[in-house]
Subunit: 419 residues, 3 copies
Amino acid sequence: MVDKMSRYRYAPLLVFQIFLMILYILFTTYGGAEEANIKGFEDTHVMIFIGFAYLMTFLKKYCYSALGYNWFLAALVIQWALLCQSFFHMKDNMIHITKKSLLEADIMSATVLITFGALLGLASGTQLLFIAIIETAVGCINLYLMESVYKVTDIGGSIGIHTYGAYFGLGVSTAFRLRKPTGPDAAGTERLDGPTYISDITAMLGSIFLWIFWPSFNSGLAQTDAEAQRAVVNTYLSLAAATVTTFVLSAMVSHKPGKLDMVHIQNSTLAGGVGVGAVANLFIGPGVAIAIGIGAGVISVLGYRFVTPLLEKIGIQDTCGVHNLHGAPGVYSGLLSALFAAIATVDTYGSEYSNIFSAGAADGRSSSMQAAYQLAALATTLVLSFGTGFISGLIAKTKLFAPLEVHQRYDDEVNWELP
Amino acid sequence: MVDKMSRYRYAPLLVFQIFLMILYILFTTYGGAEEANIKGFEDTHVMIFIGFAYLMTFLKKYCYSALGYNWFLAALVIQWALLCQSFFHMKDNMIHITKKSLLEADIMSATVLITFGALLGLASGTQLLFIAIIETAVGCINLYLMESVYKVTDIGGSIGIHTYGAYFGLGVSTAFRLRKPTGPDAAGTERLDGPTYISDITAMLGSIFLWIFWPSFNSGLAQTDAEAQRAVVNTYLSLAAATVTTFVLSAMVSHKPGKLDMVHIQNSTLAGGVGVGAVANLFIGPGVAIAIGIGAGVISVLGYRFVTPLLEKIGIQDTCGVHNLHGAPGVYSGLLSALFAAIATVDTYGSEYSNIFSAGAADGRSSSMQAAYQLAALATTLVLSFGTGFISGLIAKTKLFAPLEVHQRYDDEVNWELP
Amino acid sequence: MVDKMSRYRYAPLLVFQIFLMILYILFTTYGGAEEANIKGFEDTHVMIFIGFAYLMTFLKKYCYSALGYNWFLAALVIQWALLCQSFFHMKDNMIHITKKSLLEADIMSATVLITFGALLGLASGTQLLFIAIIETAVGCINLYLMESVYKVTDIGGSIGIHTYGAYFGLGVSTAFRLRKPTGPDAAGTERLDGPTYISDITAMLGSIFLWIFWPSFNSGLAQTDAEAQRAVVNTYLSLAAATVTTFVLSAMVSHKPGKLDMVHIQNSTLAGGVGVGAVANLFIGPGVAIAIGIGAGVISVLGYRFVTPLLEKIGIQDTCGVHNLHGAPGVYSGLLSALFAAIATVDTYGSEYSNIFSAGAADGRSSSMQAAYQLAALATTLVLSFGTGFISGLIAKTKLFAPLEVHQRYDDEVNWELP
């Protein structure tokens, strides 16, 4: 009987898919060609569907689920996010879809995949899909607040995407309060909570693709060629510096003296992209981009080494350590955005100023006011993401969403016909 | 003696390669720069050489052959296809090669790789290379008929590439009539006809890259930015909907209740790209693109679950199930193209009408006439591909092309120095 | 005590990273937007960070190091190369960074990764990082000589990048003079010097990505659309022909008659990109590009089969056989560049002539003079790379750079916390 029912466990998603279809039929049409040549879409698409997917294949027996749910979640969320985001920008009650809409939908889906990273191996498919639908809707509201109320700059989504996704995931995890099982009973599952030699190699594939296309991600929504190039240069340099820093530091702090830890290499190298994200299009200077990357590498490696174990102790699981890759570096980037907004002036930026700080400038804000709004956006994002994540987690914990038994964690067996 | 000869088994291909070189020296030159910025070439190149290649690595001991022959076949076919296709468009007895020529050659090579998928592990290298040369030449004639005689629209090649390649492969397979060996003797080979945990992970890489760049594939030959954007939007949404549908349905129909089947996930997710292919540039509406994707997912999953076993029973092997990924969704797309041609009007399309239905419109065709031509092109493709495939298969079965023994099937040992 | 110190083994690199940061702060700013739309950057980025990295994962227990050091080295070198290269083109004592600068930095990092390929599994991290810093600086001087003194054409870097990187590596290897250990003591390490079934599959991923994007690599620095398209067409055809040739020849010369050797397939297929590199933008004709590819395939496969074993015998180790993929095909391309420079005229090239042979033409050089300069650049590159490599190797051999013990070769254990 249970078995018979389990066949239909994803059936509500097909209902949701048909509901989306109807909304698209009623409310969408094709946009004009002026955004048809937007850059960064294909690269970001690779990040979402290859990068995030393969980065999460590091667990020894959860690779099918990592790849499968990443795909399932993202395929659902991009359709849903496109509607949620465009809802605020309808013309004549219609959404006009362009390649830019697709890029924005892809970017929003990253929030859900970051949250999935925190819960990797710990949540059932039904839980994840429920959480994804809530997270996307609230994430679009948060972005709307940032763009249209706070009027802040955050070109690479370090606040609205990375910080949001990470703390949403930590909110869910706090609600779940899963302690690592100890004692003899736990032996069976605990051994799944780690990599094999080969799973680390496939995870590197995801990590490196994320790294490669991060400059495209951080520059995709720039409005001029000069602004896009600045975002590419800053992100490229910040990532390179974070990578060098990560290798040096990993050997310094790892458990076996002088040996490199794959967890750091796969993740902290990317913190340079998050760290510079909110300020990538500003005139920060290439050398300062390197400095930001060094800082991001330090924050991330130390986070993996010292913060994650602490969180685990108090029952907040974070399988991929998204706190150290997306959360803390995202907050760091948000703080930097306040700093650089405070010192940016129309004089130093020229006509670019009105592109980047357009909305705020139009309101007659001073630089320090803009800085305050950047901080407010960061604070709002933190509260909204953690809070909504926590509440979603409390709901998802109920039997309705088929939470995993302890022995089912980190195990593809639950979801897949294995060879 | 046999061994000595086997060293030279591919020698005829070098002769063919030198023959190609001479044809290129005599009949080709560089084209003008007006097509030098064509989009979609690099993405399609990734689909052909990474996507198809890795998708076929799912067998446990046929990965070297999947990767190797995919490369060998495609490297040969792109050179051959470029000549065959451009033969119909020579100026002053010369072929003027542009980036568009390369894109078209890449696209044509997909037919051969689809056919390879049907025969994966069942045909020798010599057989495959012989089949590839025939298939490409006839495939170019078929495309010429579609473009210049029937004057149909098929931007994503769902008729001319996917349907053609799949039914060509099924034609060869019908000629081969390989029954799965049964009884005790067969034990040795049968166990190779399946995946390992890791081979499914490398196969996913191919699958996801195909999925990511399918919008580029379906829009690469569009003539305006607006048309290309429409093809991208429609393909993106159709793929996303097919993916959600595939996951839901896979759990419903799989052998173990509620568990996902990797075969569906790796393949049926892509059926959305084939299903929308022939109509991707039309004004079908984003919601209808989603509907098409749902339909393609349903057709494909049910095909894997019920049609492939039937075909196997009557001795038509289809290792990758190309019938369910390319064949049936291709026919579905061809039928849709007739439907949408029938309801398309100059009024609804404006100036785009003459781009998409240009040739037919110039002949003064009505919409329903155009629809009839779409159906005729589909029927011609089916007959030509299956028929030529069948005849090629009969020829390739002879000893001249070194067919595999039963115990050599699905086994890299035959072709490779293994570690 | 040794252990304690080993934690800080990469600490000098952090000092170097901070030194780079200061140089960037003092001497760099953002360039104008006129090079913001340069093509080929993202594709080349994939080649450097995925292509080279995964190609080197073919060893059974050196995959973490292959991926890790590829990343570490390249992340350091791109920052350093950008400064070294731009040093010769400063305006008002400032370097103006554009996307073209990033592309050039990526291209220069290939030299270091080629050298890494020669030394794969044989050099410690400290040795590699020291060598990389020297190699980059001297490589930039060599490029400056080629561009501004010899004024030669070498669009794909076959002389300045491939030949340079390969012979630098062979220079280091000659200084190292590592003989393969023989006798019973050696048993433990020797078995690591080879692939597994799976490591060959991940290596193919790198190989194919290099192959796919090589047309972008060879055309990235072209100055007109027509020139870029010519480079793409020539490279595409040369690679395809080299691939067919490699398969045919591999079966002919392999140890087991008629079987394909993965080493050839992974490497010699790419020789077509190197072979045509220095002449890819010239009006060589598409058929001649195919001829060049056939030649490159022959040179490379025979090199792997006969030259590498000879080099090994005299104590010059070359783990990846970079001599056969980059070295010999690079020299071949350099010689071809002299040949085609000798027969190129303003009449046959029109206005393109002044783009490609601009500097030399402005000096009033004849075609045969230009050919002589091409040869001089090739000779200079050979002497400079091998010589500097040899001296760097002598220095790196000292205890200061922690050379590997025999039993540590080809082994991730030395550098990584393994699962």
